[in-house]
Every structure is written in C-alpha cells, then in structure tokens.
C-alpha cells in the first residue's frame, strides 16, 4: 500500500494502482477524456499529464499510466501542468466544430467543462478546421459526428473489452482517423451499444432516440430499476423538471421518459445497461387501460371493487396468477390479502421475444421480469394449475386467456390497453413503477428502489390499494 503525495496531500494508494486511480479514489479529480475506471488504459488524450517532483527538475507524464510508487510527490495543478493542459485543450479544440448550439451533449460535455475550467481562452489557431463526416449512421440507434470526435477510443475499447462485439474501430490514421463500425454492421447486433453514447466525452456519439429531444438542463433524473430482466439494473429515468414543463404543446411531453441512462451500481450492473433499458419508454409508455371495467363497460372504482369482492366471495376454487413485475411492497400486500383465499402461482409476465438475447455473461439474464425471485419466495415456484378453477385473478401481462377454464370468472389487473381488458368480468387499470415508489429484488437478492417520475394517470389504481379494497370486505377465511 504505497503512500504517495498528491498536491501535498498524503494518499494511501492500493498496490498496483496508477496515480489517476489513487487520486480519484481519494477524491482528487485529474481531468482526462480517455481514461475510464472500467476500461483499459489508452493514454492518448494526454490531458491527465501531471508533474512529478524530483532531484533533476522532476518529470511530467500522464497520470493514468503512472504507477503510484511510494513517496512520489505529484502535482496536478502546478504552473507547468496548467500550461500543458491548456496546450492539449487548444489542440483538441483546433478541429472541433464548437457547434454546442446544436449539439445534444451541451451541458454534460467534458470538453465544455474542461475548457471552462482549465483553458477558457479563445483558440489561437488561424487555419481552417479539418472537415469530415457528420451525421454518420454508426448503427440503427447511434449517430456519429466525426468532427466532434476527440478519438479517445473509449467506444472502441468498450466494444472490445465489455460488450465484446468488436464492432468499432478506428480507420485510417493521423488526423484523418475515423471511428467506424465494421462493414458487417455488428453494432446493430450489440445489445450494449448505447453505452458508448454515455462513454463519449463529447457530442460525437449520439442516441438517435434522444436526438434533439431536449436540453439536458431542462431534465431531472430519478433513480429507478429496469424491469427488463431479473438483473434489475439501476437506471436513471430522465424527465422534464417541474419548472420546465411545457405549457403549450402535447402534455405527454411533460410525463414522458426522455431517456434512460445507467445509474452506477457496483453490486448489480457497474456503470452499464443494455439497450432494452434504453428502450424502456417503448415498454412503459404503451397505451394504458383507461380505467375500471366490468365486462367492457366503464364503471367507477368503487363499483368495480364491489363487483370483484362479490366474485371472490362466490368462488369456491379461486386461483390467482401473481405478477413477476410486482414490487416487493405489492407482493407483501398480495400475500396478506390473496393468499388466505386464493391458490397462488407466480406468472412470468414477459418471455424472451424473437431476436432478443436470452442471456450472456455481461448483464442479460433469461428471466425477463424484475421481481420473479421475490414473488417465488412468497408464493412458490409451482407451475400454474388452473383445472377446476372457477375464478381466475390475473395480475399483470403475459397470460393467455384461452387457458381460463370454461365457465370460470376472471378478474384482470394490468396497466396496459389490451382486448382482454374488455372480456374480463372485472378489469382494473393498475399503475406502473414510474408512478409510485417501491423496490424490486434481483436474481441475487439485491434490493433496489425506484421512485415515481409522474403522477398516476386518471383511472388507474395501485395494486396494493386495490388488494386493500377487495380484502376489506371479502371473507378472509375460506
């Protein structure tokens, strides 16, 4: 455990650490585009150069590749370091288009931040900028602007080392170098491709689904958990800040998920998520059930709950299919209210779709539901047995109504608009994780929290509330 000195402060570095790692662990921020804690060292941006004091005047070198050796004295902000940094930033800026006005990355751009903090001076160059491709379709999901690219190679290293698709590389050489995808378009098939958009320190790599949607400073991030599979990656859901909500325009903009980014979680997903998480709006913003219905006729919640209670009271062999999308809290509520009365089986709300990766050794897992483990802990793992049931309570999506025994009644609780909603004896439109607080338990037992980003739509009801309403008057003992 070598002790080193950074700007005079003593730091205990771990064995084998570089000065960059040791400094960042100690909360000392050394700037750099190309270094990333989860990728190999590239050492090409040269921005992290630091000064090491020594007898013959010391030396300067990049911190990201500098072994932390006992007793070394490192300066991260000396006049020499500042001069070097300014020079490096001047050179990065040389061919950079500086089109922040039309660039999505503005407001979260490392180049902007570093320029203001470490340079701040206008460029001294008088020559024309090098022009190259803008709006290059790197994949169906990602656009590349090569003029903005600083060739840090983070994206290339990601596809080599993390997603292992080897989709990206740098073609040609010198200042004609271009990041490109291989001619087999392998990035289209890389389910982790969009992580390179986060990784890109500038606005070179852009997500097509987020392109021109919003300035980032109009948005808030709310922690949530991706329901795409049992890993339950930690995510941030981005949505418009209260004070920046649109007064005019389509009000759906004000409640929409503008984008999804990873929320760093060393215990679950590290700093990555897969593209399914990026596409959560497609999953969660499908048309919703409008409100409670009895055999397709819209009624108010009280009447529908009353009808449901009567169905439950009348049933002699009620079966409940438990949603594996339910939160821990909802499952607890279901256990307290349903289990005494119903035979309960856990249902997989979602199965792998054609073309969807089932599992790999990066993040993706085969169970495409966020809370199956907890549901099975409470309700067992037996496969559903519907024979002889005279009431089937279906909670969540993914149920084939043809399985309902002839003559049995149905109570359906689900968030989304579907033809079955009108066929159920009683239908309740339930809320989503984006409309309430709660927790999921992932495949390893890690519990993660999600928080609401919008009020629940009119006509919907929380499952837990509904269970309370039904249990209040249903006979508890069979």
């Amino acid at each position: 455990m070598p002790e080193i000195f950074v700007d005079g402060i003593a730091i205990e570095a771990k064995d084998g650490q570089t000065v960059m790692e040791a400094a960042r662990d100690a909360g000392i921020y050394i700037p750099g585009f190309c270094w990333h804690p989860n990728l190999s060292i590239a050492g090409n941006c040269r921005l992290c150069m630091v000064e090491v004091e020594g007898e013959s005047g010391g030396w300067m070198d990049i911190a990201c590749n500098m072994p932390a050796t006992r007793g070394m004295h490192v300066l991260t902000n000396s006049p020499k370091v500042q001069e070097r940094r300014k020079a490096m930033l001047e050179l990065v800026l040389l061919n950079h288009p500086v089109d922040c006005g039309v660039c999505d990355k503005a407001g979260e751009c490392m180049l902007q931040d570093y320029h203001y903090e470490h340079n701040g001076a206008p460029s001294v160059a008088t020559v024309a900028k090098h022009r190259t491709t803008k709006f290059h379709e790197l994949s169906k999901r990602i656009l590349l602007d090569n003029e903005r690219c600083v060739l840090c190679s983070r994206c290339v290293r990601f596809t080599k080392e993390v997603s292992k698709s080897h989709a990206l590389g740098i073609l040609d050489r010198g200042d004609h170098s271009l990041v490109r995808c291989d001619e087999k378009r392998s990035l289209d098939d890389d389910p982790y491709s969009d992580n390179v958009v986060d990784l890109c320190p500038v606005g070179a790599l852009l997500s097509k689904r987020f392109l021109y949607k919003s300035r980032v400073w109009y948005l808030d991030q709310t922690p949530s958990v991706c329901p795409g599979c049992e890993r339950g990656c930690s995510v941030d859901l981005w949505h418009r800040k209260a004070e920046w909500k649109f007064a005019a325009l389509d009000p759906r903009h004000n409640v929409a998920i503008e984008r999804v980014t990873p929320r760093e979680n060393p215990a679950v997903n590290g700093p990555w998520i897969c593209n399914k998480a990026r596409d959560l709006p497609d999953l969660l913003e499908r048309p919703r059930g409008a409100g409670p219905m009895l055999k397709g006729a819209r009624v108010d919640l009280g009447e529908a709950a009353g009808a449901a209670r009567r169905l439950i009271d009348a049933a002699r062999h009620p079966v409940a299919l438990i949603s594996s999308w339910a939160s821990n809290e909802e499952l607890d509520s279901a256990r307290a209210t349903l289990l005494p009365r119903f035979r309960c089986f856990v249902k997989a709300d979602h199965l792998p779709q054609p073309g969807e990766r089932v599992a790999d050794d990066v993040l993706i897992l085969p169970d495409k539901n966020p809370n199956g483990r907890r549901a099975r802990e409470l309700f067992g793992s037996a496969p559903a047995a519907l024979d002889g049931a005279d009431l089937v309570l279906i909670w969540g999506e993914g149920f084939d109504f043809a399985q309902v025994p002839r003559g049995a009644k149905t109570i359906l609780m689900s968030p989304f608009l579907a033809p079955e909603n009108g066929h159920a004896d009683a239908y309740f439109a339930t809320t989503l994780q984006t409309e309430r607080s709660g927790h999921y338990t992932n495949f390893e037992g890690v519990v993660s929290a999600f928080a609401p980003i919008r009020p629940a739509p009119a006509g919907t009801v929380d499952a837990a509330t509904l269970f309370g309403m039904i249990a209040a008057v249903a006979r508890v003992s069979a």
Binding site: N44, C45, M60, N95, T126, V150, L151, D175, S177
Partner: protein, 436 residues
C-alpha cells in the same frame, strides 16, 4: 577511408551476400564459438563491456537493455531486429540487408542465445523488395545448413527466425509500433510503463534492436567487448554506417569510425557539395536532428558527445547535405508534410499538431503567411515536446525548432514578401549540374 571498417569489410560482388561467400570470409565461426564455449550470460556481459549504443537513433546502450531480460523467468522471450528504416535520408540498414544478410542472421542467433529466445523476427519495411528477398534467401540458406531452427550447429539451442514484412508506416519503426504490427494490428505505439523488455511482443519480455546494432555482435563476440570498446570514440565505441545524400557529390553508405571529423567526411570522403557549390548546412542524422551550419560542422567529430555538444545528434545515421541557395522554408515544408502523413493519430498533440503545422507552413509557402505563424509553429512544437506516446511528435517539433533557430529570416522574409528568398529552390541548379 573514414576509419576502420568492421561491417563494410569485404568487397561487394554478385555473390558476396550468399552463404558460401560469407562462410569463406569466416562467417558463423563466431556463432559456433558462442554456442559451444560460452554461457548466455557471458554473451550479454561481452555486449555490455563493448559499450555499444543502439544504432537506430536512440543510442541506448544495448547491453543495458539486454540485462533487463531474466533468463530464468520461465517465460518466452522475443528478439526483433528493426529493419523498418523509414527515417528520411537513412538507407544504411539496407546495405546490411542486401549485402551482408548472413551477418544479421548470425548476429541474431548469437543474440537469441544470449537472451534465450525461441522465436525471433526481423521487421522489414514493406517497400524494401531486394533487401527482403536477399534476407529471406539467407534465412532459407541458414535453415538448410542447420544454422537456424532446431539444434543449431548440432547444439541444444533452437531458434526460429521470421522475416516479417511491414506495409507502409513510418511509425512501425518505433519499437512498440513495430511490435503492434507483428501482432497483426495497426502500428500504434504504446505508452511505457511497462517497458518492452518487461512486456513486449505478445506481452512477453522482448528486445528490439536496430539491424546495425545487431550486425555488430559478430565483431564484438569475435574480438571481445573490451577490444571493441577501444575502437571509435570514448563514449561512442565502434563505427557507424552513415548514409549520405542530398546535394553531395558521392552519396551512398559509408562506414565511419566514431570520432572521425565530420567536415573531413563530407568534403574529402564524400566529394563535397555538388557542382562545386558551398555548403549551407547539414541534417546530421535523420530529419529530427537539429541542422548544423557549414561553420558549425568544422568543430564536430562523428560521435554522440560531439554532436550533443553542438546541439544536435548522431540520430539514425542519415546525413543530408544542403547546398547554399536552398530554400529552408520549402525544405521544412517537405519534412512537415512527411510527419503529417505518418502520424498514427492516437494522441492529441501529434495528431492535431501535425495537421496544424502542415497548414501553417503550406500557408506561408502559398503566400498567405501571417505574423504570429512562426510563434504558432513553436507553440505546436512545444506542445509536442515530451507529451506524446512516442517520439514522432517531438521529432517534428525538433525539426521545426532547429530550422527556425538558424534560418528564421527566410521564413520571415516569405511571410512579409509573399515569396521565397531563394526562389523556392530545393535543387542545386540543374544547369550547373550539367557543367559539373
């Protein structure tokens, strides 16, 4: 004759590069001596005692490099001869490859034995056609004669030698770029640490030596390190193959014993400047070494200490002679164009700096030079000094700074007047040449 000849010590004929002729000259006797009567450590000891410096340009003591290799670390070690020779003005390794390829093969077998190497490579630039065919033929002859492969000269030592062709990249002459290329990738140089002698080719301990450095091994092991050290100059033992070109009467490859006066070499041995012109300056050893004026070379001897004292360097041994009347602005333009073309593009200062430097000099030559352009070029040079992954960025900076230091007036003239002080001339007047 500029001193003793250790490498160019035989008459070149139509067959002198072949195994039979090489053997007749005593070839492979040293290898036999080494393999049958010396331990690997003893070989390294002789090389260290010789004090031989690398002939590729960095002048690092070869013995010190070799000593980093631990013979008993249980890992494969690799040896690579750097035959990429891309430095403008340099063509001396080519002489060895074409005319004395067995010298290299025998020396590499000796080095391989010393460093316990099973697989050795010669990385030869792709453009070299005849040198490649001669070297590959020599390697094939050596395999047939039991001088490479299993049980070399009937001993337990085995070594395979692969001649690996480059494909057009100056930066593959940089040791880590060279190894990247052998690994089947772009010639991207690498940051150190780790040193190549710790983690080099395929992440194993690797020694990369210049062709000429290696070719000297037979001499060193034949006469002994101490004896070798007595040749040449105190801090530069042995000889240097010098390739001389440009405005010189007798261009070519000469073997110069270290310590020999540079002026004598140019004016006497090489016939002086073309068409009886006066000397303006020289590029001593590859275009990143600082130019020395005609006056300055009068006191310089051909060795590392003397060149360093004069503010320049031996470099790659590629000397370029520049006659009076040559336009240094256009000359620098050619150099910068080269660096820009060859930048691998990895690191910010070189990638963006070379392009900027090129645009600036092109602007000056096109008559669009602005005041402050020279300061900008110096800023770029400074931004590349000690900041880059490999030495290429620095090299361009040195070329610029060196020429500006001595010929700034020519640049300022062009910026102010919109034209060259010397008609943009790079050639010695063709008409004069006709009458030479």
């Amino acid at each position: 004759m500029p001193g003793r000849a250790l490498l160019m010590d035989f008459p070149v004929t139509a067959t002198s590069h072949l195994l039979a002729d090489y053997r007749a000259r005593g070839g492979y006797a040293t290898l036999r001596k080494v393999l049958t009567s010396m331990k690997p450590e003893q070989v390294t000891k002789e090389v260290t005692a010789s004090g031989i410096l690398g002939h590729g340009g960095a002048a690092f003591p070869a013995g010190r490099k070799w000593q980093v290799i631990h013979l008993d670390d249980g890992q494969p070690h690799y040896l690579c001869a750097n035959a990429d020779e891309g430095e403008p003005g340099t063509f001396k390794d080519r002489w060895i490859l074409e005319n004395a390829p067995h010298r290299l093969v025998e020396s590499m077998a000796i080095a391989g034995y010393a460093l316990q190497v099973r697989h050795a490579f010669v990385y030869i630039r792709g453009e070299f056609d005849l040198p490649y065919r001669r070297l590959q033929a020599a390697v094939d002859e050596a395999y047939d004669a039991g001088l490479l492969g299993e049980r070399i000269l009937d001993t337990d030592f085995a070594m395979d030698l692969v001649v690996y062709r480059g494909a057009g990249s100056y930066v593959c002459g940089e040791a880590s770029g060279l190894l990247a290329s052998i690994e089947g990738r772009k010639g991207y140089p690498r940051n150190r640490p780790p040193r190549l002698t710790v983690k080099g080719l395929f992440k194993r301990p690797t020694v990369v030596n210049n062709v000429e450095t290696l070719a000297n091994l037979t001499t060193i092991l034949a006469m002994g390190g101490e004896a070798f050290k007595q040749i040449g100059a105190p801090k530069s033992p042995g000889t240097q193959l010098v390739s001389i070109s440009g405005h010189v009467s007798k261009p070519g490859v000469y073997e110069v014993e270290y310590g020999y006066p540079v002026a004598k070499f140019i004016y006497d041995d090489c016939g002086g400047v073309l068409a009886g012109r006066k000397l303006k300056c020289i590029v001593p050893g590859g275009i990143s070494t600082k130019v020395l004026t005609a006056a300055e070379i009068e006191t310089v001897t051909y060795d590392h200490a003397s060149f360093t004292k004069a503010g320049s360097g031996v470099g790659s041994g590629g000397m370029i002679v520049i006659a009076e009347g040559t336009c240094m602005v256009r000359l620098l333009q050619v150099m910068i164009r080269f660096y820009h073309h060859e930048s691998c593009g990895q690191c910010t200062p070189c990638r963006d700096g070379m392009g900027w430097m090129h645009k600036l000099i092109d602007g000056i030559v096109a008559g669009r030079g602005q005041s402050g352009d020279l300061e900008r070029m110096e800023l770029i040079a400074k931004a590349n000094d000690g900041t880059t992954i490999c030495g290429m960025g620095d090299a361009c900076g040195y070329a610029v700074v060196g020429i500006l230091a001595k010929y700034r007036d020519e640049f300022e003239y062009w910026i102010v007047h919109g034209r060259s002080k010397f008609d943009g001339r790079l050639e010695v007047d063709a008409a004069e040449l006709a009458h030479a």
